[in-house]
């Protein structure tokens, strides 16, 4: 899913918010905590809103309700691993919260 551009791995994916409460502050914290463990640059967007995936202020303004499909882009040597981990958090573990 990645392509090497100037020795830089760039990966993109779509992650769907599946927990009922959406990406409120506690899940947003989990998201940035996990994202911050990787060296790659992570950008998250919901339609025209674009956020730095490692900034709590920016992730909190994505207004990602349950069912929202976020575009996530990672750029850097560990981009593929970062997206895999974020998918696990968002779609599989659903931030440890219940679905609707």
């Amino acid at each position: 899913m990645g392509e090497t551009v100037l020795e830089k791995l760039v990966c993109e994916t779509t992650l769907e918010i599946k927990n009922a409460e959406g990406l409120h502050m506690r899940p947003a914290m989990q998201f940035i905590d996990l994202a911050s463990q990787f060296d790659c640059k992570i950008t998250v967007s919901n339609a025209d809103r674009v956020a730095d995936g490692k900034s709590i202020m920016q992730v909190s303004m994505l207004e990602a309700t349950c069912g929202t499909r976020l575009q996530v882009r990672a750029e850097g040597p560990d981009a593929d691993r970062a997206l895999e981990a974020l998918r696990e958090l968002v779609e599989v573990r659903m931030f440890g919260e219940p679905p609707p």
Binding site: G22, H24, R26, M61, E63
Partner: protein
């Protein structure tokens, strides 16, 4: 969601007397009770819930602002009150700096999307240095109301 849809301007506290987190939360809830937005019999329980939420993880997001919040059955619509402190309050913020503006947000229990819409508005503006500066400088309730109404009229501001 616009500020004027959820911020109770009558409950602005232009100078919080408290210098600690729990005191500031208590004052803002008292202001919402005085403004008739929260039944007085619920005040204690709402306060407890906000503090419990804050103990789980600080809402001190850094840059001098905290956004304590909770979902509670005492409100039917998203409700906010803003308090200012010139001395600064210890909110155990991410950047370990004191907080000069506290935006308390109470959301209804069964409407998570409305909560996210209000948060989106708050954080979209808080990201802007100019907005944070004006927010901190708004020492009177009327100034704060003007600032938020102006932000509502100029979404890209």
């Amino acid at each position: 969601m616009r500020f004027d849809e959820f911020v109770c301007f009558e409950a602005t506290v232009s100078e919080l007397q408290a210098t600690d987190r729990d005191g500031a939360i208590t004052e803002l809830i008292a202001a919402l009770v005085a403004a008739g937005k929260i039944p007085s019999e619920s005040a204690k329980d709402v306060t407890k819930a906000v503090i419990k939420r804050e103990n789980e993880a600080s809402t001190g997001m850094g840059k001098g602002v905290a956004v304590p919040h909770v979902k509670h059955a005492a409100v039917k619509n998203v409700l906010a009150a803003i308090g200012q402190s010139s001395t600064g309050i210890d909110f155990a913020s991410l950047d370990e700096q004191p907080v000069y503006s506290v935006i308390l947000l109470i959301s209804p229990v069964n409407n998570p999307d409305k909560h996210l819409q209000a948060m989106e508005n708050v954080f979209r503006h808080l990201q802007k240095e100019k907005f944070r500066k004006f927010l901190r400088q708004s020492r009177q309730p009327a100034e704060l109301e003007d600032l938020l109404r102006e932000a509502d009229e100029n979404p890209s501001w």
